[in-house]
Amino acid sequence: MKHLLSTEDLSLSNAVRILDTAEEMAAVGEREVKKLPTLRGRTVVNLFFEDSTRTRISFEAAAKRLSADVINFSAKGSSVSKGESLKDTAQTLSAMGADAVVIRHWASGAPHRLAATDWIDAAVINAGDGTHEHPTQALLDAFTMRRHWSKLAGTPSAGADLTGMRVAIAGDVLHSRVARSNVWLLRTLGAEVTLVAPPTLLPIGVEKWPCSVSYDLDATLARGVDAMMMLRVQGERMNASFFPTTREYSRRWGFDDNRLRALDTLGFKDTIIMHPGPMNRGLEISSAAADSPRSTVLAQVRNGVSIRMAALYLLLSGDTREPAVRTNSTSSPSAHATKESH
C-alpha cells in the first residue's frame, strides 16, 4: 500500500490492518505522553484546495502525534489561485521533500492524478476529492461501527470485520464522497448497506452498487438498522430542484425526533446514529438525535485522529518508497535482527 486513494480498491486485509493499527493509536491517545516519535524527520503536507478545517486539523493532529513535521498548504490565497497548476504545486512540494501529501480537492480524481503521475514521489492520502471518495472518513466510520459492534458481541474488535451489521446511509448520495467510500468499505467488511435518498439525489448507475436502495426512511428503519448514518445536505441543492423545500426534505429523509422515538418503540435499543459533520441541525438530523446517547458524532471525530495516525504510519513505515539503503554488512543490521528473531 503506497497510497490511500479510495476504499473501492482497499482489500479486506489492508482495511482490517488500518483499523487494528488505529486501535493501538487510540491507546496512545489515552496515555500521559500522547506523542510518538515514529515519524520524526518526516514531512507531511496538508494540501487543501478546498476549505475543510475539521479534516485538516484532524490530519494535523495525527501527524503531530507521530512527530512528523506538518506543512499546511491552503490553495486559497496562494499561487494556486493565481493559476499555478496541480502539477507545478506537486513538483514544488516534491522539491521541498514531502514524504506524504494529504490532499483535499474539489475535483474528483485529483489525488489519483498525483499518485499516477511522476510529478511527486510521496505517499498520497486522499482527504476527500470532489464527489468521489473520502477514504479516511469511511475508515473512521467503520472503526466507530466496529467498536460498537464488537462491544455488543462481547468480542475484541482487533481483527474483526462487520459481518452482519446493518447500516443505513441517508441523504445526498449523489454528491457524497462519504457515501461512496462507505459503500465500498462496508461491503468489504461484510456489512449490509442500504442507501436512503430522494431519487434525485441518487446517481444513475447506483443499482450496480453492492447495496440496497430505498426511497423510504421509515420502512428502512422498521426493517432494522444497527447504524444509521445521516449525510449532510447542502442548502443550495434546493435551488437546483433536487427537492422542493428543505421542510419536505427533512420530513421525508431527515432523522427527526419522531424517527428517534421510533427506534425505541421498534425496540432497536442498540442502534447508533452517525454523522460525518458538519451537521445541519434541523435539516438532515434533529438536535435531539444529534445529542442523544445513540449519537456517535463526537466519537467519530475522536476516532478520526486515530485512523489518520494509522494511515500515516502504515504508508510511511512500509518499505515501499525508497530503494532501502540496507546492505547485509553494516548499514542497518537491526532490521535483520528484528526480522530474523520475530
Partner: protein, 457 residues
C-alpha cells in the same frame, strides 16, 4: 520548404500492383494531377515507379471534422502542423471547424483559413463556417457571404457548442438551402450537460464525475431530424456517440429525412471504463460511452446508418491535459490514427471491406461537403487524390513522434494495424515511404496569397 520547389502536378508516377479498394492488383498512372490510366502492366514511360504490391489504394481520405486551431490557438496546432498530420494520416482534404479565435463566422476568416491551407499545401483545407455569430447561439452568422466567398463554404457548424435554440436551428436549416449548405450539429442539450465530465452511467456513479447523459445527445438529434424534415433541409450530425442516437437516425432515414451522421474513431473503440484512470487524455466531448454503444456505432457504420468517420481531431497543449480531470480540456487527436483505428475496429472485425472504408472516409464526406474533386473513384480522368496503405503493417502509437502538435492521443502505447505509405494530393506525392515529402504548390492565383509574397513560394 520554399526551397524544395516541386513540379506541382507535372510529375508522373506509376503505382504498380496496388489493390484498388482492396481488390485485385492493378497499376495506376498518375500524370498532370490526374489519374491518366488504370489497368494491368501499364508502361512506366519515364514515370517514377512506386512498387505497391501488398498495398491498398484508396481515394484520398476526407475529414469532415477537424480542429486546426489556427487562427488564435497556434500553441495547440497550426494549419501547417495539422495538415501535415492529415497528410501522414491518409487525408487529402479536411474540414476545418469554425471554433477558432476569431471564430470563422465571416467571409474574411474563412478566406484566411483557406489561404493558410493552400500555403501549407499538404491537403485541401475546407473551412467550416459558424452557424451563429461568435458561436454564441443568438444570431445567424453571414452564412451567405461565407458560401459566396473564395472558400465556397458549404458546411456550417457551431461545433463545440450546440445550436440549442430550436428557432435558430430551424432558421439555419432553412437558410442554408439557398446555397445547398448543410448544418452540422453538435448535439448536446446544454442544460442536461451543465458541468458534465463523462458519460453518465455506472462508471460516473463510482468516479463521482458529473454525468453527460445519452439523452442530452439523443433529444437534440430527435428534434433536429424532425426540424430538417419539416423545412426540407440537409442536416449532418457530428460525432454520434450513443446507441439511442443510432436508432433515431435510422428511423429518420427510413422516413426520408435528409440526414447524414458521423462517428469518430475513438467512439468506435474506447469506452468510459478508461475514465477510471482519471487521465484526461480520455476526456472528450461527446464522452466515451459504454461497450454497448461502441457495438451499436460499429453496426451503424457498417450498415450505412452512420455515413462517415470524422476524426474530431482536437489537439490541446499539454498543460490542458496534465491536470485534474475536471480542469482538463475535452478532445483527442485523431488525424494520424483514424485509418488504423477504423481498420482495427471495422475491417479486422469483418464488419467492412476497403470499399466500404473508401465510402465512409472519402466518398460520403466529400459529398456532404460538396467537394467535387475529392472522394472520386480511382479511375482514368479523375483527380489524383490517392492514399496508399500497407494494411499488414503494425505500429505503436507514440504521440511525441506525431506531426500534430497535440500530444493528447488516447491510443498512445497501443499497437495499431495499417500504415500510410504514400499520398498523392492533386497528383503530387505529399507522402512517400511513410514520411512527409513536399507539399503541393498551388499556383499563386489559386493560392490567393497576399501581395507578392506568393513569389517566395
Amino acid at each position: 520548404m520554399a526551397s524544395q520547389q516541386q513540379d506541382a502536378g507535372t510529375g508522373a508516377y506509376l503505382i504498380r500492383g496496388a489493390a484498388i479498394l482492396g481488390g485485385a492488383p492493378e497499376d495506376l498512372l498518375i500524370r498532370d494531377g490526374i489519374i491518366a490510366e488504370r489497368g494491368q502492366d501499364l508502361s512506366a514511360d519515364g514515370a517514377t515507379v512506386i512498387e505497391a504490391a501488398g498495398l491498398v489504394a484508396l481515394p484520398g481520405m476526407v475529414d469532415i471534422h477537424t480542429h486546426l486551431r489556427e487562427p488564435g490557438r497556434e500553441d495547440a496546432e497550426t494549419v501547417e502542423t495539422g495538415t501535415r498530420a492529415a497528410a501522414l494520416g491518409g487525408y487529402t482534404a479536411v474540414h476545418a471547424m469554425a471554433n477558432s479565435t476569431p471564430v470563422a463566422d465571416t467571409a474574411g476568416v474563412v478566406e484566411q483559413v483557406l489561404t493558410l491551407g493552400r500555403t501549407a499545401g499538404w491537403v485541401d483545407v475546407r473551412p467550416v463556417g459558424a452557424v451563429t455569430v461568435g458561436l454564441a447561439g443568438e444570431q445567424l452568422a453571414e452564412l451567405g457571404a461565407m458560401a459566396d466567398s473564395r472558400a465556397r463554404v458549404r458546411v456550417f457548424s457551431d461545433d463545440g457548442i450546440c445550436v440549442h435554440d430550436p428557432v435558430l436551428m430551424r432558421r439555419a436549416l432553412e437558410y442554408v438551402k439557398a446555397f445547398d449548405g448543410v448544418v452540422a450539429q453538435h448535439a448536446q442539450e446544454p442544460r442536461l450537460t451543465a458541468g458534465a465530465q463523462m458519460n453518465e452511467g455506472e462508471v460516473s456513479a463510482v468516479l463521482g464525475l458529473t454525468g453527460w447523459p445519452a439523452v442530452a445527445e439523443e433529444s437534440i438529434i430527435a428534434r433536429d431530424v424532425l426540424l430538417a424534415q419539416h423545412v426540407g433541409s440537409r442536416l449532418h450530425v457530428c460525432h454520434v456517440s450513443t446507441a439511442g442516437s443510432v436508432e433515431i437516425i435510422r428511423w429518420a432515414k427510413s422516413r426520408g429525412v435528409n440526414v447524414t451522421a458521423e462517428v469518430t474513431p475513438h467512439h468506435l473503440w474506447l469506452t468510459d471504463e478508461l475514465a477510471r484512470s482519471y487521465d484526461p487524455v480520455y476526456k472528450v466531448n461527446p464522452p466515451l460511452r459504454t461497450d454497448a454503444d461502441v457495438q451499436a456505432l460499429r453496426a451503424a457504420l457498417a450498415d450505412g446508418t452512420i455515413d462517415v468517420v470524422g476524426t474530431d481531431h482536437a489537439p490541446h497543449p499539454s498543460e490542458h491535459k496534465e491536470c485534474e480531470w475536471a480542469q482538463a480540456a475535452m478532445g483527442m487527436t485523431g488525424l494520424e490514427t483514424a485509418l488504423s483505428v477504423v481498420q482495427h475496429t471495422m475491417i479486422e472485425t469483418g464488419l467492412m471491406g476497403w470499399a466500404d472504408f473508401a465510402r465512409v472516409t472519402s466518398t460520403a464526406p466529400a459529398a456532404i461537403g460538396r467537394l467535387t474533386d475529392q472522394g472520386r473513384p480511382l479511375d482514368a480522368g479523375e483527380p489524383a487524390n490517392v492514399t496508399l496503405v500497407d494494411p499488414a503493417a503494425r505500429w505503436t502509437v507514440d504521440p511525441s513522434k506525431m506531426a500534430t502538435m497535440g500530444r493528447n492521443s488516447p491510443f498512445a502505447g497501443r499497437e495499431l494495424p495499417g500504415k500510410v505509405v504514400a499520398m498523392f494530393f492533386k497528383g503530387h506525392p505529399t507522402v512517400l515511404d511513410g514520411k512527409l515529402n513536399t507539399p503541393y504548390r498551388w499556383l499563386p492565383e489559386q493560392a490567393q496569397l497576399p501581395g507578392t509574397a506568393a513569389a517566395g513560394h
